[in-house]
């Protein structure tokens, strides 16, 4: 076999191998848009703002999340990394505002985090499947695959995604060796504490809340706390008109 022929065969074989490994992904990859029924579990969160508002200035949930996830403390709001945070009502629900909304209510802080949408636009647009939806509904993030194109940030209608504009490791107050740190140039966000759920625990924010304002559970289980709360009271979600099917509910 001469050299040219060998190179030809080698190139052909590697192209075939590449196509072979990519094909199943291409076919299976379409799941980015729709709902997956493969798992019976469907994790969701129900937040009771009236309980949350009882404690002025409380940030227990935010602090707990920052601590267990090695979230860097960039204080410049333009470079902030946040998985869960408080936002005034008028920003959390901009379309709900009306001119008779009491001035003090407009400013009331609401707890925001990734909505773990059933139909997540971020997953749809990600060019590398670095963000994807698990069978149990959790929208995950692979910090090792993310190329930092920030398309997911443009796609997310909730501002739930943060980008590491510079090295986060030098901005972590107290490093928790039990959780990975991130590198600069990747996107990150709330993962409903998938690492804790795997151990049978509740998300850190839910556990930390002194008023028990956040409930976490399985929507597929009719006897779960989240289902009981949603059936007992009227609830709203952020921007439901966009068809993303957010799975974080706010009780009225």
């Amino acid at each position: 076999m001469d050299r040219r022929k060998f190179i030809g065969i080698a190139a052909g074989a590697s192209a075939l191998a590449l196509a072979g490994s990519a094909l199943p992904k291409l076919i299976g990859g379409g799941s980015g848009g729709g709902t997956e029924e493969s798992s019976k579990t469907r994790w969701a969160m129900v937040i009771d703002p009236s309980k949350c508002l009882k404690r002025d200035g409380c940030t227990a949930c935010v602090a707990a999340c920052d601590k267990v996830h090695n979230i860097p403390g960039f204080h410049d709001p333009k470079h902030e990394v946040k998985w869960i945070w408080k936002e005034p009502f008028e920003n959390a629900f901009p379309e709900q505002e009306n001119r008779f909304t009491a001035e003090q209510f407009k400013e009331k802080p609401f707890i925001l985090l990734c909505n773990h949408c059933d139909n997540p636009p971020c997953v749809r647009v990600c060019p590398t499947q670095a963000t994807w939806k698990r069978g149990d509904g959790i929208v995950m993030m692979d910090w090792h695959r993310c190329i930092g194109c920030r398309y997911c940030m443009a796609a997310c209608p909730y501002g739930s995604r943060s980008f590491n504009w510079s090295d986060p490791r030098t901005h972590i107050e107290r490093m928790d060796p039990g959780f990975p740190t991130r590198t600069k140039g990747v996107v990150e966000k709330c993962t409903f504490c998938d690492e804790r759920i795997a151990r049978g625990e509740k998300p850190a924010c839910v556990e930390a809340c002194p008023e028990k304002a956040m409930a976490f559970g399985d929507l597929a289980d009719p006897k779960s706390e989240v289902r009981r709360l949603l059936e007992g009271r009227y609830s709203i979600r952020r921007k439901p008109e966009l068809g993303t099917q957010p799975e974080v509910f706010y009780l009225i």
């Binding site: 990519a22 992904k25 291409l26 990859g29 379409g30 980015g32 848009g33 709001p77 333009k78 470079h79 902030e80 936002e87 008028e90 920003n91 959390a92 901009p94 379309e95 636009p121 749809r124 647009v125 990600c126 060019p127 590398t128 499947q129 670095a130 695959r145 993310c146 190329i147 930092g148 194109c149 920030r150 398309y151 940030m153 443009a154 796609a155 997310c156 209608p157 909730y158 501002g159 943060s162 980008f163 590491n164 504009w165 510079s166 090295d167 590198t183 600069k184 140039g185 990747v186 996107v187 921007k239 966009l242 068809g243 993303t244």
Partner: protein, 392 residues
């Protein structure tokens, strides 16, 4: 006919030009090394305005690349002979512009070392994957076409017959690159400014105005510094294309304004208000957007009135106005305006930093260098041919 080499190759002016471009590229490269080390935080981008001038420039130059079709189509589909001499200029412009686009995407990436992940994990539901496919395909097509056509010209033979279907394929392909680029933005549920079905048509209209305007200016510069004359007829026909495309583009923009303002839907109107009047006490783009509008209005008059369009001195000014107007509209306003206000109704200012602007300037310079070198090659191939062979 004086020799092209004498006029340009080796001349002090030529090397001064190339040297200037290389200096800008070197400065941009240094800034990129800084960005690589420090992260994208050295740019003006932020959590809320997460794409800035890099992506905006990318969008604008996809249009310039696509506009090559405006010389290729009349020549190959309608046998419009006057464009015969300049199709190669259009194709080389496309190659340079697509290369610039790819660089703008590359410098925008947080983890550029992982760029191959896009190919290792092909994702059919991501418009970015398709944009990569269409852009690299378009680059390949135009590189191949210009190579084959030029080498045929050098040998003084007719180009091989198989290249014609490739050229025909490049026509719809050009439309596809700008359509898919529009799809990057207009499939995002939370971004009202881009969520409009007219985005892709608008992209094409502005592309077919800005690209040929640039081509007219390039042809005029080439005529001044070399022996090559694209011909009055070709330039006038390009000017007519610019005229129609600019009218359609302005018409499309006005349709957007009507829909957003008359419907009165707050989140649709908010982006326009941020761009044209300011919002939440911030109005950084207002002077830019009104400059763009004024340039568009003036250029429309100068294009539509035949007396002005036929005067090449005025036409040159008009083409600069068209190019600037569309560059502001698409290369700044369209992307930044889409992010402000944010889906949480917040107004965040974005001001590009010096390193960011230097990197952008370097990519512009690289594009200009590519154009210079490509056109020099094309013209030095041609100067050896007898003039009457070129005259059609």
């Amino acid at each position: 006919m004086f020799m092209f080499e004498k006029a340009v190759v080796g001349s002090k002016k030529y090397w001064a030009w190339v040297g200037c471009l290389c200096a800008v590229i070197a400065m941009g490269f240094l800034c990129y090394v800084l960005q690589l080390r420090e992260g994208l935080g050295i740019t003006g981008m932020s959590r809320d305005v997460s794409w800035g001038l890099y992506i905006a420039q990318f969008t604008f130059f996809v249009g310039v690349a696509a506009s090559a079709v405006m010389v290729v189509l009349p020549y190959y589909l309608h046998d419009y002979k006057a464009f015969g001499k300049i199709t190669i200029l259009g194709e080389f412009l496309a190659v340079s512009a697509v290369t610039m686009c790819m660089l703008f995407i590359f410098v925008d990436m947080g983890q550029p070392m992982r760029v191959m992940n896009v190919m290792l994990h092909p994702t059919l539901h991501s418009m970015m994957f398709w944009d990569m496919v269409s852009l690299s395909g378009y680059l390949g097509l135009n590189a191949l076409i210009s190579l084959i056509m030029l080498s045929a010209e050098r040998k003084g033979v007719a180009p091989p017959a198989w290249i014609r279907p490739v050229i025909i394929l490049s026509i719809p392909w050009a439309v596809s690159i700008h359509t898919v680029t529009a799809f990057l933005y207009n499939g995002l549920p939370g971004r009202a400014f881009w969520l409009t079905a007219i985005l892709a048509p608008r992209f094409l209209a502005s592309a077919f105005a800005a690209g040929p305007a640039l081509l007219i200016l390039l042809a005029m510069v080439i005529r001044k510094v070399t022996w090559f004359n694209a011909g009055k007829e070709a330039i006038q026909k390009l000017a007519l294309i610019v005229t129609y495309a600019m009218i359609i583009n302005v018409f499309f923009i006005l349709m957007e304004v009507f829909t957003a303002l008359y419907s009165g839907i707050p989140e649709d109107a908010a982006h326009l208000r941020f761009l044209y009047t300011g919002l939440g006490g911030q109005s950084p783009l207002v002077p830019w957007m009104w400059t763009s509008s004024a340039l568009a209005a003036v250029s429309l008059v100068l294009l539509i009135v035949p007396r002005y369009r036929h005067n090449e001195k005025i036409l040159a000014v008009t083409c600069v106005a068209v190019f600037l107007s569309l560059w502001i509209d698409k290369g700044i306003g369209l992307i930044i305006g889409g992010f402000v206000p944010s889906p949480l109704a917040k107004v965040t200012s974005y001001v590009p930093t010096l390193p960011e602007i230097t990197i952008i300037a370097a990519i512009w310079a690289l594009g200009a260098l590519m154009i210079t070198v490509f056109y020099k090659i094309a013209l030095s191939v041609r100067e050896r041919l007898p003039e009457k062979a070129m005259a059609h």
